[in-house]
Symmetry: D2
Subunit: 148 residues, 4 copies
């Protein structure tokens, strides 16, 4: 179930590190086309934090969101299990969920881990990955019985 | 709210056309890498049906799902408003939702239209696009007030 | 080898139809983010012309170029062999090649077919797909002998 | 112009580090769908090496190649200028160029830097990025004069 709160009292130290990493990463965004800065950080099962920002491209469709940059950063260090992710952008009034492509990228590695959406005032909202993608298409879907 | 049913009694004629178009389109799929055939059709506000299948690529990341092929087919004919989409694959036992990328592609054109997920026996499940993407990132998100 | 020329004298009737289809398709582009209109048309081996425009998305990375829209349109009608493609944008002074993603999408279906790049004054430049992607990664690459 | 050679005699120390990083990174690839392992490393102007592997997804189109993972890794550390990249896969007999999407991702950051393609025996072939994308679509293309 979705939960909201003030981040720095409510989160333990490791999650604060995660949220801060996402927050700070916005400054590195390469977003000359949208001017929409996003930062993301992921917390591996083993307790390490990897971060990323959005990277855009003159061919818009080749742009990669911060969420996938953070994930590939961790994955290319060998991590495959995750406890939480945090995503931060500059929108003031509402919590912004990730785009659908990033949701799919997250759930490749499980449905039962948490996403923290962080506003510029560092208040946050938490949802489980599985809540963000009802009726998900997952790696297991490719293994289900098919006709023919 | 999600609804399930037998398609051909429960759906009006136009929706039957839609479901059948998605179903038949699987046969055109270019999926030499996954061998996972998907068909999709979309129903425009003006009552026209456009269909598409998945098209894969040796560089896996350039593969495009059936849902986006159907949508771009309709969009390149000038359509921008949609009433429903239907998606069909060969998985027998469960209704398969679209991948997150396709959900995002759908909601670019609104949250309040319907997706029919169709099994090989032509039973279906219906969800609203907005239900498939809780806390969505939408075109309006880019216009919200931002810090700095 | 690259060739340039005035299109309407130099091209046979079918190629003129192709170039015109690409040219006209720009008007359907859904490009609220870049405002960069592109049209593309592809000519199948059997002589049919399919067209497409670019379709962008609030999550920039989900945008699909005109070239891929035209191709998926033809592919979802069952076509797999192509004679030529034409791409048209509004840039005045130089011929614009497609982005790399679209080049890869084209060469999935062979290296020895032609791309016509068309300027707003309808002059054109022609290159072979294989020329646009030196040392290509192709479907055959996945079948080559690998270590381990 | 393309150049080939034995890597460890012909390359200076920093480039050897780059080639080795790409080579070793293959072992981290998350490629359960293609089973095609790729590693990439990029050398920043300031002399730092960042690496990445391919990361695939059950929705094939969301897969990201090693080249883009390495690039986003470096970019999210603030780097914007690059001297060279190396890419390594398991294909034995031929040098494999990157897919078109990755070429486009590379040239977002310039045409005049080098790509080393590395075979399993660590022999290499070098091409300039600009050679890999003739008639490129670049960030500057979006700034050129357009009709209307």
């Amino acid at each position: 179930m979705a939960m909201e709160g003030k981040p720095f009292d409510a989160l333990d130290e490791k999650l604060q590190e995660l949220v801060n990493a996402a927050f700070d990463m916005k400054g590195c965004a390469y977003c000359p086309y949208s001017n929409f800065h996003v930062g993301c950080a992921v917390l591996t099962e083993s307790g390490e934090v990897y971060a990323g920002c959005n990277v855009e491209n003159a061919s818009y469709g080749l742009s990669i969101c911060a969420e996938r940059v953070a994930m590939t950063n961790a994955l290319s260090k060998g991590h495959r299990k995750f406890r939480a992710a945090a995503v931060s952008c500059d929108v003031v009034d509402t919590f912004k969920g990730p785009c659908g492509a990033c949701r799919q990228f997250f759930i490749e590695f499980g449905l039962d881990w948490d996403l923290y959406m962080v506003k510029p005032d560092k208040t946050w909202m938490k949802m489980q990955m599985g809540e963000l993608v009802p009726l998900p298409f997952t790696p297991a879907s490719l293994q289900e019985e098919r006709v023919k």
